[in-house]
């Protein structure tokens, strides 16, 4: 099945009902996308499909056909969100961080604090209490 993964044309021969999360981690070797619950509650597996954040544990691979998929690896190593998450201690244990950054990535440039909270409401973090995540996201926008 063909799709665009982090900007590159990709062809993976996995079962169409395999979870996109497993295709990314097992077939494509992109382990930055994490599994936290397997039922779309925690958001640790958030990736972008055609620009929209989705829980890749809920998406059958078939739905990625001809789509554009972006994972945390697609942001490179030096995105402002990545730097600010580390500098502001928006990442503690780090397991929710890739998904959290992907959810933050699509927030509007003029997002208010309330917009940020709503935008990240599908991503659970058990370490930070979220405040440092808001600080990281806000700092990355300045």
């Amino acid at each position: 099945m063909r799709f665009t993964l982090n900007g590159a044309p990709t062809d993976v021969g996995a079962h169409p009902m395999k979870r996109l999360l497993d295709v990314l981690r097992e077939e494509c070797g992109l382990t930055g996308t994490k599994e936290g619950c397997g039922e779309g509650e925690c958001g640790a597996c958030t990736v972008l499909i055609d620009g929209a954040p989705v829980c890749s544990c809920l998406v059958p691979f078939a739905q990625a056909e001809n789509a554009t998929v972006v994972t945390i690896e697609g942001l490179g190593d030096d995105h402002a969100l990545q730097r600010c998450f580390m500098d502001e201690v928006g990442a503690q244990c780090g397991i929710c961080t890739p998904g959290m950054i992907m959810a933050a990535y699509v927030l509007a440039p003029d997002a208010s604090l309330d917009d940020i909270k709503v935008g990240l409401a599908g991503n659970l973090c058990r370490c930070t209490g979220y405040s440092a995540i808001y600080r990281a996201v806000q700092k990355a926008r300045t």
Binding site: E35, C37, L75, Q82, M86, E88, I95, G129
Partner: protein, 699 residues
């Protein structure tokens, strides 16, 4: 520029934010099998037969007969087996292990188990088997009640709490170097090593390496020893690497939770609000095996009188056996339960006396020179009054208590303390060690203390850098590997900074003495490698008697005061916290941003404990074992927080620091319930779900 006191860059680098950091499930090894645990489906009984109902070709199958050493997860009382032999004592107890190279085939395998079912016991109050009994006596409480003008009684209950680290439990066991190495998500590599040694016998070559760990909160203190043993048994039998990763349901059903509690208070006071007698009874539901229940009870009992002065106290505690999965370590370790009880009780006392509850706390708060329930003399770093006054001042608490009346908004307060380090003689028995090696460009820290998100690597490196007077960047931190690092003890009990950090500081001072005027690089170039290992030295004034429970229960305490403001929906009884003020004194922050993160994160866990998190137990197992049905706070459940860190240095800690990790967990639940009391709801239990509040309102 000194590193201590500054929010330097985390040693984790940018790996966590780029997804490059590898957690257990991100590691794949050649020839690796996947492991699965077949568990009991009854809460109590005996196994009559176990029959694999699948084609076993390609499977590795392990039961208790494959164990060459002792079938016991060695910890304290050694009563929990790795694999059931005959008796089942709780739901989801491990019976059989399977491994296969194909995950689908592994999950499809069916095992038929026949049982003789026995009557299970679920109610800890009906249990007659106690894992641990504790009595703390100060003065003569029965005589003191005769001097009381007023006596207030109450019973307070807390439920289970699930850790919900976002990374579920996982390990990989690898046959290598004529032995087995276990790589895993865990807090205490040497606990796992001890359990493995018991499982395989003293001669086996065993090694445990911590992989990057996606949250712990106590939930990866003892249970990973069980999983490490399972994976190691499968790896040993198959001769191949075996990975076991729990899915969320298995993690919630099978692994430990916070102990549910029932705490009874009977308290005598003078009419003007002075505590004269405190009689406290603590009961914990330990679950089916003792595991850590005795020490959780110990910390719970020692904190049961709260941050208050009273000459006549009796605290009696028991941890009871029930046929439920063992409860275990969870941030706070018994203290959140007992401090919930005493703080809600204090609010009810103030109501009974018709006294301002802040004034009641001011009259009774422990001060330097006072003695705690165990007779411990408090030193100058006892800050109950300071945190209370600052929280009251910042929130304009007394005025708000008046102006909010009748508005549907409530405000409540809690005052609390938390002992840092192991309880009683624990640290003396542990004899923790830390090691510091010279490198070509600086130094390397070699300790067993794990980074689980809280910032261990960073904070330890700051301490060493400043004690050696070298740049923070030149300090490396080794991954905890039992073949390499010094056994600095478990990463628990708010001890990683105060205890292990202090040993590292002493290592660094000793190394600096040897280096003289040379830099690490100069010394290394001229004289080669240098290694310093030091052992923990408890303060010389510490006295503790484990039989009488008298003495210095902890080297020192951290102090906190939480103020919660909230709104109650009059139709749905849904509670929305709107603002939380947290004032805490924990010596000093080594890294202010990390410390703030501990306080914010712990406070939100406490709010979840108070308002959202209910474990529904059905037939002895968690029935709501998904993140859909067990809810933790999201961004939208989390209020704005005002965090204040007061300083009061403790000489026994590195650069004056005490322990912090657990303290923030103790305060939110009673502050929430006291704010609901301000709204007229006589609540004495958590979680404060709408249905619970409705029944309160209609009482």
């Amino acid at each position: 520029m000194p590193a201590v006191g500054r929010s330097v860059s985390r040693k984790d680098g940018i790996g966590k934010a780029t997804g490059r950091t590898r957690y257990a499930d991100d590691i794949a090894l050649p020839g690796m099998l996947f492991g699965r645990t077949i568990r009991s489906t009854i809460a109590h009984g005996t196994v009559r037969s176990v029959r694999p109902a699948f084609d076993t070709a390609g499977f590795t199958i392990v039961d208790h007969r494959d164990i060459t050493g002792r079938n016991v997860v060695a910890l304290i009382d050694d009563d929990q087996p790795f694999l059931v032999e005959r008796t089942v004592r709780h739901m989801a107890e491990p019976i059989l292990l399977l491994a296969h190279e194909n995950k689908e085939a592994l999950l499809a395998a069916k095992v038929e188990i026949e049982y003789d079912v026995a009557e299970p016991l679920f109610d800890p109050e009906q249990s007659t088997q106690s894992f641990k009994d504790i009595t703390i006596v100060k003065g003569d409480v029965d005589a003191a009640f005769a001097r009381a003008d007023v006596i207030v009684e109450g019973t307070y209950r807390t439920g289970h709490q699930e850790h919900v680290y976002i990374e579920t439990n996982g390990v990989i066991a690898v046959p290598e170097d004529d032995g087995i190495t276990v790589y895993g998500s865990l807090q205490c590599p040497f606990y796992a090593l001890k359990a493995l040694k018991s499982l395989f016998g003293a001669d086996a070559k065993l090694r445990v390496v911590q992989t990057e760990t996606g949250g712990g909160f106590g939930g990866k203190e003892e249970y990973p020893s069980m999983i490490a043993g399972h994976a190691a048994l499968l790896a040993h039998k198959s001769g191949r690497p075996v990975k076991i990763i729990y899915d969320r349901v298995e993690d919630m059903v099978a692994t430990t939770k916070r102990h549910p509690s029932i705490v009874r208070h009977r308290t005598g006071l003078t009419r003007d609000g002075k505590l004269v007698a405190m009689d406290v009874n603590v009961l914990l539901d330990g679950g089916a095996y003792s595991t850590l229940s005795g020490v959780v009870l110990s910390r719970g009992c020692i904190h049961a009188a709260g941050p208050y002065r009273c000459d006549d106290i009796r605290i009696v505690g028991r941890a009871m056996m029930t046929n439920t999965p063992p409860n275990g370590a969870f941030r706070g370790f018994g203290a959140p339960q007992t401090e919930f009880a005493v703080e809600v009780h204090m609010e009810r006392i103030a109501e009974t006396l018709d006294m301002d509850s802040v004034t009641l706390r001011e009259i009774n708060a422990l001060k330097p020179g006072d003695r705690t329930a165990t007779g411990q003399l408090l030193r100058e770093d006892a800050s109950a009054l300071q945190v209370l006054e600052e929280a009251v001042r910042r929130t304009d608490f007394r005025r708000k208590r008046e102006t909010l009346r009748g508005t549907g908004k409530g405000i409540g307060l809690s005052l609390f303390l938390h002992g840092a380090g192991f309880t009683g003689a624990g640290e003396e028995r542990l004899k923790s060690k830390a090691r510091l090696d010279l490198t070509e460009s600086g130094v390397r820290i070699l300790v067993a203390s794990t980074e689980i998100g809280q910032g261990t690597r960073t904070m330890h490196a700051q301490i060493v850098a400043d004690a050696l007077d070298i740049p923070y960047e030149s300090v490396e931190v080794a991954q905890p590997d039992t073949a390499l690092v010094a056994d600095s003890g478990p990463t628990v009990a708010s001890r990683t900074c105060m205890i292990v950090g202090k040993i590292l500081e002493r290592c660094a001072i000793e190394m600096k003495r040897t280096l003289g005027t040379m830099s690490p690089a100069e010394y290394y170039g001229a004289k080669g490698p240098l290694s310093v290992t030091m052992e923990h030295v408890p303060p010389d004034w510490i006295r503790w008697n484990d039989d009488t429970y008298q003495g210095d229960a902890y080297p020192t305490y951290a102090w906190g005061c939480d103020v919660v403001e909230l709104e109650l929906d009059p139709d749905t009884y849904e509670v929305r916290p709107t603002h939380v003020t947290v004032v805490q004194e924990f010596g000093r922050p080594i890294h202010p941003a990390l410390a703030q993160g501990q306080i914010e994160g712990g406070t939100v866990q406490g709010l979840g404990y108070a308002l959202l998190e209910r474990v529904v137990m059905q037939d002895g197992a968690m029935a709501n074992s998904t993140l859909t049905n067990y809810t933790i706070p999201t961004t939208l459940d989390t209020p704005e927080m005002d965090i204040v860190m007061l300083e009061n240095h403790y000489d026994g800690g590195p650069f004056g620091a005490k322990g912090l990790g657990e303290l923030p967990m103790d305060g939110p639940a009673p502050a929430v319930v006291n704010a609901l009391r301000h709204l007229g709801l006589d609540l004495r239990e958590i979680p404060a779900l709408p249905e619970t509040l409705l029944s309160c309102a209609s009482r």
